[in-house]
Structure formats: C-alpha cells, structure tokens
C-alpha cells in the first residue's frame, strides 16, 4: 500500500515536472528558439523509438508475432492516421495470435 503510493507519487511528480519544465526554465524569455525547435523535432522520435524496443522486451520478441502485429499498426497508422484504430487492431491481432 505505502510502497504503491510511493511509486504513484514519484511517477506523478516526474510527469508533472516534465510538463512544467518549459514554463519554469523559459517562462520569462519565451520558448521560440531554433535549438528548441530542433530538440522538439528530433528528441521525441528518438526517445519513442527507444520505448518501442523497450516495450518489446515484455512481449514474445523471439517469435515473429509482435513484429507482425507491429507492422499492422504501422500500415494502418499510415493509411488511416487513426491512432485508436491502429492500436486496437494491432493489439487484437497479437492477442489472437499469442
């Protein structure tokens, strides 16, 4: 109970401070700088790419199943740009196969 509350509180604080960071650090001088634009453009995709790899670690990654389901998500996302549809279709496929 207390340990779970600790996990909850730490996660909440990290997420809130991340969201507040630009306002705390640059609130007085404005955020429109070229290097920030570049960071916004490149940093986030790189981090998300790492997270894709990280999330595969808890799947059956030695089998072709998560890759097939992952490819389904990519194709649907490119075709429809509907995140909800591609996420649920990919997950349903994986749940059926696994």
């Amino acid at each position: 109970m207390w340990h779970n509350l600790g996990i909850f509180a730490a996660s909440w604080a990290v997420i809130y401070l991340l969201r507040a960071f630009p306002f705390i650090a640059f609130g007085r001088c404005g955020g429109d700088r070229p290097w920030l634009r570049a960071a916004e453009k490149w940093l986030s995709p790189i981090v998300i790419a790492i997270l894709v790899v990280y999330s595969f670690a808890s799947l059956e990654w030695r089998t072709p199943l998560p890759y097939a389901a992952g490819a389904t998500v990519v194709v649907l996302q490119l075709a429809t740009r509907n995140g909800l549809l591609s996420i649920f279709a990919g997950t349903a496929l994986y749940m059926l196969l696994v």
């Binding site: 109970m1 340990h3 779970n4 600790g6 996990i7 909850f8 509180a9 730490a10 996660s11 909440w12 990290v14 997420i15 809130y16 991340l18 969201r19 507040a20 960071f21 630009p22 306002f23 640059f26 609130g27 404005g30 955020g31 429109d32 920030l36 916004e40 453009k41 940093l43 986030s44 995709p45 981090v47 998300i48 790419a49 997270l51 894709v52 990280y54 999330s55 595969f56 808890s58 799947l59 998560p66 389901a69 992952g70 998500v73 990519v74 996302q77 740009r81 509907n82 995140g83 909800l84 591609s86 996420i87 649920f88 990919g90 997950t91 994986y94 749940m95 059926l96 196969l97 696994v98």
Partner: protein
C-alpha cells in the same frame, strides 16, 4: 449564443474524438492495471492515477511496476523515460499562455498529454481570453473522460472475466503509432497538424 457558450461548444466538439479515444484506451488501460497491479481496490487506484497523471503510457506501465514491487527510485527513472516527450510540449505554449493566473496555469500544465496538446497547439483562436478558456474547458473534459475510462476499465477488469492474454502489446502499439506519426511528419517536412 454568447461568446462563452460558443467557446464551450467549440471545445466540446473538439473533444469528441478524444471521448472515443480516452474512453476506449482508458478502459483498456484500466483492465491492464487491474490485471497487473495486484492492488486491493484497482478501480480507486486506477481512477486516482488517471485523473492526476493523465498519461496513457504511465497508466499501462504503472500496474506492472506495482505488481513487481520495483523501488520508488526505479519507478521515477522509468516514468522519466516513458514520459520524456511531455517535457517538450510546453515550449510552443509559453507565449500563448502568458498572463494566465497561476492556479489555472498549473491546471493547464497537468493537461499536457499527447491528444490534449495536439488540439491546444493546433487551435486557431486568436483572442487570448477565448483561447485560454478553450484550453481550460478542453482539459477539464479530457481529464473527466480519461478518469471515467480508467476507473470503469479497472472495475470491469477486476469483476468480469475479460481475456487479457497478450493485452500488454497495447503499450508497444501505442509507441509504434506515435513513432509512425512522428516519422511521417519528419519525412513530409512537418507542419502543424491536428494530430491523432
């Protein structure tokens, strides 16, 4: 129709796709949470986490952390890794939110999740008062959708026999869909889109 009503309706209409998205995704996250966390009242925990953090990625992951009993420090590091992109959203809103009262700004910052941010960043209202009102209403609506989805999902997950084998793929699918959109934007030269 007064200006306030107009802004409310505009925010409500903008939030409708998110009602679908957060309802369904929140429900799935709640089911995953109740299956992985092993806590006594999963609906209470899931709802509290959902309303205060407003993060799909965290909601899917935190049940696993609680179930495995990882240390608080490890949880903080993992939360930082999976939430890193939130630290970039505020930059484009600093100027548009200048002059907003502190309590309201603290509330708006709480709402800087992917979908909410996408709508706020792409909103074209010029008048600052209208724009801030739009953001506040949108944030309140979206938090309530996510709260409802995560609470109902966790309750259903702990009381109904919902099959959840393989449901952990939803995390990977979420990241893959975000990455696909980001790469498509980079490849097409970006431009402000009313994302997902």
């Amino acid at each position: 129709m007064t200006r306030k009503h107009y802004i409310f309706l505009k925010a409500f209409k903008a939030s409708l796709p998110i009602l679908m998205g957060y309802g369904a995704m929140g429900f799935a996250a709640g089911v995953v949470f109740s299956a992985s966390s092993g806590v006594e009242h999963p609906a209470l925990w899931s709802g509290a986490i959902g309303a205060s953090c407003l993060s799909g990625t965290l909601q899917f992951a935190i049940g696993d952390w609680m179930g495995k009993g990882i240390s608080v420090g490890t949880a903080a590091i993992l939360a930082l890794a999976i939430s890193f992109r939130y630290g970039l959203y505020g930059f484009s809103l600093i100027d548009r939110w200048r002059g907003v009262s502190l309590p309201l700004k603290l509330f708006l910052i709480l709402g800087l999740a992917d979908e909410n941010y996408a709508l706020e960043a792409s909103c074209t209202l010029k008048n600052r008062e209208d724009y801030v009102r739009f953001c506040a209403i949108l944030t309140a609506l979206n938090i309530s959708y996510w709260f409802a989805g995560t609470t109902i999902g966790a309750y259903a997950g702990s009381t109904l026999p919902i099959p959840h084998k393989g449901i952990e793929f939803v995390m990977a699918a979420l990241f893959i869909s975000i990455l696909t959109d980001q790469i498509r934007l980079l490849a097409t030269g970006g431009g402000k889109e009313a994302a997902r």
